[in-house]
């Protein structure tokens, strides 16, 4: 008898996603707005279910792993998807996008992330990755009467296909060199037989494939254009959840299958982390479009996340898990504020944010504190996250890397505060009105703001949860 019941969350997600798709055919056109609400409620129920089942563990057919590590990331994806869905209500209606398909793809992308982060086997890992990527390609190009969105979709499609090819080639080399696609089995073979040249080559290709998804320099070229062109809620979701999912899969492949090669790949990750932090932070400075600014900021955040991988320790894994969770709220907060502003003014330019604090104190405050959390300023949760990441590499002796990271965080404060300056010190344009934000988006913004404050002042529950989960995942 196969233990299908441990896949309950994945099965419910798939059924839910397909159900929304069917609902679009049954519901009359003028009441399709309700589909968004149904999606949000469903995701909230699944989020609670995932939280209740966070200690579940088991292995499905030797290849799909349910463990606290994967469950932690499931909670993260569902939280991000829920915020994205709430953020989308008005945006989708205003831009006239197909409601049921939009929400259905959102749910199925989340399913892809779950499969990616829980796979203990390379074939299902690859299929999860593709499910996530292809859904995101469609969502990126979803805004059909906007040429930037179409351009972003094509760019993501072409470069995504290239990165998939590289990733697949890496998988085939790893399979050829070890004779197995099960990650644990690969780890066992590598530990007993040592690394062959083909395995090293495969590792490099896998690294490049993951680096593309996590927008690590020099594999980041696609992200600013795609982030700018995609519908704003989709950009938010893409920048937090798909990154977290790829990082989770990266942990499974590099920490479980290839830990004996760590002295080799840690060097590669150091180079990538330095490049990513430096370029992401410096290129963000001259940006004038809020979505491009957040794209480069998100590249630099990927650099900080890599520090946890460089440390190759329990503390590093826990720090990455903690940081990616509050990155969800920090970044989604900023994107929710950008969406609320776009809903009213149809603009993403930072100069149009001038005087926003007078027109809508809520949007301005959410944007400000989310950006401060991304920058890592003390009362906000981002500070604790960066603190743990830097601790994890200092404990491994990379003090210079921590100092570099801290210096570049200072740089990031500059461009984040440029947005704040425009919002708080600029004068609102002539004849502009106060901005009305619909109540569901208001609630979502306030909740994510509260979470950022609470986790900044009292982070212990989440850090304990992340660290304990990291211990169960990774024992060096």
């Amino acid at each position: 008898m196969v233990n299908v019941q441990i896949l309950i969350i994945e099965i419910l997600m798939a059924v839910f996603g397909l159900g929304i798709l069917c609902m679009g055919l049954l519901v009359p056109r003028d009441s399709r707005r309700g589909i968004g609400y149904v999606t949000a409620v469903g995701l909230a129920v699944l989020l609670i279910l995932a939280f209740v089942m966070r200690d579940a563990s088991g292995v499905f057919l030797n290849s799909y792993i349910i463990d606290p590590f994967g469950n932690y990331f499931k909670i993260l994806f569902l939280a991000a998807a829920l915020l994205t869905a709430v953020c989308s209500f008005e945006y989708v209606e205003k831009t006239g996008m197909n409601q049921s398909e939009y929400y259905s793809l959102l749910v199925l992308a989340t399913l892809g992330m779950m499969i990616l982060s829980s796979s203990g086997e390379l074939i299902s890992l690859y299929l999860g990755l593709e499910l996530m990527t292809i859904t995101f390609i469609i969502l990126t190009g979803f805004h059909l009467d906007n040429s930037k969105s179409a351009e972003a979709g094509i760019k993501y499609l072409l470069l995504g296909a290239l990165s998939s090819a590289i990733f697949l080639y890496g998988l085939s080399l790893v399979y050829g060199a070890t004779g197995s696609t099960v990650i644990k089995q690969i780890g066992f073979v590598v530990a007993t037989n040592g690394a062959s040249p083909a395995l090293v080559l495969g590792t490099i290709f896998l690294l490049a494939g993951f680096a593309f998804k996590v927008t690590v320099v020099p594999f980041h070229m696609w992200s600013p254009d795609v982030y700018e062109g995609a519908p704003t809620p989709v950009t938010g979701f893409l920048s937090v959840a798909s990154k977290a999912a790829s990082i989770a899969a990266l942990f499974r492949v590099f920490f479980v299958a290839l830990p004996s090669l760590n002295s080799f790949w840690v060097q590669l990750f150091i180079v990538l982390a330095v490049l990513t932090m430096v370029l992401g932070n410096l290129v963000a400075i001259p940006q004038t479009n809020i979505k491009r600014l957040l794209a480069y900021s998100s590249i630099s955040q990927a650099g900080y996340l890599l520090l946890g991988i460089v440390s190759f320790s329990v503390l590093g894994v826990g720090a990455v898990m903690y940081y990616s969770m509050l990155y969800v709220f920090g970044n989604m907060g900023a994107f929710m504020a950008a969406t609320a502003f776009y809903n009213s003014d149809s603009s993403d330019e930072i100069e149009d944010y001038s005087g926003l604090a007078q027109r809508s104190p809520l949007i301005a405050a959410v944007m400000l504190f989310s950006l401060l959390s991304l920058a890592g300023i003390p009362p906000m949760a981002g500070f604790i996250g960066k603190f743990y990441l830097f601790m994890s590499i200092i404990s491994r002796g990379y003090i210079w890397l921590a100092i570099l990271g801290i210096l570049l965080s200072m740089v990031s404060v500059y461009y984040y505060l440029m947005v704040a300056k425009s919002m708080y010190l600029g004068a609102p344009p002539e004849g502009s009105k106060t901005i009305r934000v619909n109540s569901s988006l208001q609630i979502a913004m306030v909740v994510s703001l509260l979470i950022l404050f609470v986790l900044g002042i009292y982070p212990t529950p989440l850090t304990n949860y992340a660290m304990n989960t990291a211990v169960t995942f990774f024992m060096p």
Partner: protein, 170 residues
């Protein structure tokens, strides 16, 4: 079953066919010719499957790739072409840099793969490989199989949505 020397000969013939036609896909200037060489590549790969005693896979490869996908590619080219078809698959100005980079990567890969000792699975291939594939799909690999189903559905929904274009709802 072929003898070892015959199968080696067939393998090299097929390999040269696949690599040469794949290169032709990239290098030819007329995109219809490229599409036709793509079919040849797919057929060559089907030959490799037969050599590996995977006849069913070979049949699927010919039906799906050489039959359906390549024809679709040709159709798509015909429906969307603009201007001169003989100048439809051109190089951009970075071809020299790209060529050098690819050659370097190729040499590095060949060197590293040549350095590796490959373990070769011995033993007889299964007699009934359709049954083996069915067992794998609905047994050990049922999860990736189902995920692939969802993936294809998503891709289809997306293709319809994006191809249908704007303002069909009004």
């Amino acid at each position: 079953m072929l003898s070892t020397s015959t199968s080696t000969l067939v393998f090299w013939f097929l390999t040269i066919l696949i690599v040469a036609s794949a290169l032709a896909v990239v290098l030819l200037r007329n995109i219809v010719h490229s599409a036709l060489f793509l079919i040849l590549t797919f057929v060559g790969i089907a030959g490799i499957y037969i050599l590996l005693n995977a006849e069913f896979l070979a049949a699927v490869q010919i039906l799906v790739y050489a039959g359906a996908i390549a024809i679709l590619v040709v159709f798509a080219v015909m429906l969307t072409r603009r201007g001169d078809i003989s100048e439809s698959n051109l190089f951009n100005k970075n071809y020299l840099a790209a060529g050098v980079l690819c050659l370097a990567l190729f040499i590095l890969n060949t060197f590293l793969i040549g350095q590796t000792f490959w373990t070769i699975k011995s033993g007889e291939p299964p007699l009934n490989n359709v049954g083996a594939i069915a067992d794998a799909f609905l047994g050990r690999y049922v999860l990736p199989f189902e995920v692939a189903a969802v993936l294809l559905l998503v891709a289809m929904v997306g293709a319809i949505l994006l191809a249908r274009g704007v303002n069909q709802d009004q």
